[in-house]
Amino acid sequence: MADIRLEVPAENSVLEVLYDGSELHQQPPSMSEHLTQLARKIDFATDGEEIKEEKKEEEEEEEKQPFQQPHWPLEEVRNKIRQALTEVSVLHDLLAVVKPKPPQYMVLDPVQADPPEPKAYIQFLSLKKSLQAAGTILLNGAERLRTSQAEMGRPGRVVGQDFHIELLRLRQNWRLKKVGSTILGDLSYRSAGSMYRHSGIFEVSKADDGPGGPGILSIGSGGASPVAPQLGPRAIQSSLRVTVPTELTGSAYIFVCIKKDEEDICSAQLTSSDFVSGETHWQQKLEKAQNVLFCKELFSQLAREAVKLTPSIPHLVVGNQITATIFPGIHLLVGLCHSDGKNGQKGGSGVLVPGNSGTGGVVVGGNNHGSTTNMAPTSVMAGASMAGAPGVGLGGLGPSKYKHEHDLEHSLHQLLHRVYHHSFQHPLPHPVYAYMGMSKRRRAAGPEGMDKTQLVNMMKEQTLLEQIIRQVQHNFLRLRTMYVIDQLAAEFKDPLIVSHWNAFNSPTRSCVKINIATQGYDSVLRTKLVIHISERSLKCICRDGKIMTMSFEPQELRNLILCQISQHNMAALQCLARYTGWTVLSSEQNVGTGAIEPLGNASTVMLASPSGNKVIGVHSGPHQRVSVMVSSSPRPDFYPSTVVSGQRWENLGASWQEVRHDRMEGRNFLNKMELLMAALTA
């Protein structure tokens, strides 16, 4: 059964229904309006009593009338229900109108309820709570910041230099840039002028706290002992850690040596005794990595050129080694030795096959690992750029016969460095409106009037390999010349051979002055020669203007000096004769008679004594030794015969008698001759 509520309809009638559904009620009459209504009802013509009674009757009638209106007892109820139905159906219609989801005619909007009255105390509590939460958060943050700061400045930490100061030092030496949240660095030589395609990127990060044991050194004490492998246990703590690319870890150097062809099979054991531990200071790590990159670039450039160039005997590139022929039978070996820092000892072997003198030595199998002993950083900067100071001992290079040439390695480094330099540095224009990049020679080409071939030759540049081969050739030739001259000087004491090497030389030209003088008779005669050593030939300029060009064979130089020695003896003898008063009857530098000399020519001198009765004849050759003959006049054995009758013919010289000057007293040949002359004159 539904509950039906009957209620009195609104006291105030509806004047108007607005479009939004709100109803405007007729306002209950105000006091003054009510009074006017009542006043209108008062009929002032009639009596008051009748009015009252009429009023009462009217009121009763009015009361009775609505009471009497229902015909049947539930009329009122029915009306009410009908009204309710109407209203409900109105409501239903309203809902039906509002229902379609995309609103077509009407939209229901919530009407904001009145805000509940705030309860002050609860608000206060919640405020306090939120403040407390905020306060604790802030305090936590401050606490964290404080602890991290305190940790940085902890005295137990080595060096006391924090990350930023280290970063500053790093930035002063290396290129860094920030990408996102990481700090990357560039250790390639691209900014210096290299064209190698390796990017050389390293990463910088904060180091975790190490174990920080005792005995930790500061960076300043770089003057450690020269043997760096002891660096391990004395690790230097720093708050910075660099990660270099894997292919650049460890250390490398370019191994250069000159080897002759006659060797048997031998193995080159190149062991590495160097390791780059994790605790190496970042400066050294970066320097080594940069050196590895440099060596790799150098080697790749050399290998490329070795393949591109086509000399008469082609170069061999096998694995990590390049073999080039300098002179027939002598080869230059250039290898890249790279030792990774992972394990301590790594052995590599290369096998050499003996070649015929025509072909070069073939190296089979590359040497991937080389020996390096770190050159101590006398300051942190020097690092281990080029390894293997021989004073420290090429420890790993034991059983092999290959002596690493440091100066040649240095030359290689310098050549590549020069390439970098030229790729960025251009000569400034002289005069100001000229083109940039004109070298001094090109500038001078104009006024000198160089022709086209000369200009073209000036523009041609030699490759790295060619340059180093020229230098090696010259180096080798110079050493060989030194050896030959020293050998001769040790062998011959009779005229002394003194050589003065010029201190000014270039990698491809040297100059030596040789003085040949007899001891004690320097003022008599000094035979001087100058020998210019270039890459493949020697040029000898004698004092009398003769210029001789010799090849690289040592025998030629030896022959030359032997000839010069013999000629010196003769010339000195002539000068001596002048001093002693003896007359030079004849002197012949290249005598055409007598036995043929295997090298050079024999020379002869004839001297006559001041009184004319003794004649000395000396014959000297580079191969045969000196022979001295004496003849005296008058002949002791002259007998006038039918053909030659006059006595005066006895004054023609007697037969020659040989003097055994090697039995004579006297320090050297000239001394003996002087004594002989003195003896003959007496």
Partner: protein
């Protein structure tokens, strides 16, 4: 002007000040959240907060000002690698020369020793000769 170390030190100080700022703000709020907030303390903390904050602001502004004047957006294209390499090669040359001189030194000492030995031998021989001659 001021060296980089000084500036790094200043930045460190600023960081400490920031920690102080946070701390004083936290203290102030936690004071306020207590049941009986001590006004003086709160005021004290707030004042400290304000002071330190202005301090931080001015210092940071100074540093940033300085940086705007000296820094540029372009990355630094050059590097000191050329001169570094030159230095390394010079050190290598120096070491090489040193080792060669040391070699010469060892040769010299060896030679002197040999000479001394030779002289000693000669003296001994001389003495031996004298002895037989004196004996005979």
């Amino acid at each position: 002007m001021s060296s980089p170390m000084d500036r790094l030190q200043t930045l460190d100080n600023i960081e400490k000040d920031i920690a102080t700022v946070l701390q004083s703000a936290g203290h102030a709020l936690s004071e306020l959240s207590k049941d009986k907030p001590a006004n003086k303390q709160v005021e004290g903390h707030v004042n400290q907060f304000r002071q330190t904050l202005t301090n931080v602001e001015t210092e940071l502004a100074k540093q940033i000002n300085y940086l705007t004047q000296v820094s540029t957006g372009q990355a630094h294209e050059g590097s000191s690698y050329n001169s570094q390499k030159t230095l390394q090669m010079a050190m290598h040359r120096l070491d090489h020369a040193r080792t060669r001189v040391n070699e010469l030194d060892t040769i010299k000492t060896k030679y002197i020793q040999l000479l001394q030995q030779h002289q000693l031998q000669k003296q001994q021989q001389g003495m031996q000769q004298q002895q037989p001659s004196s004996q005979s």
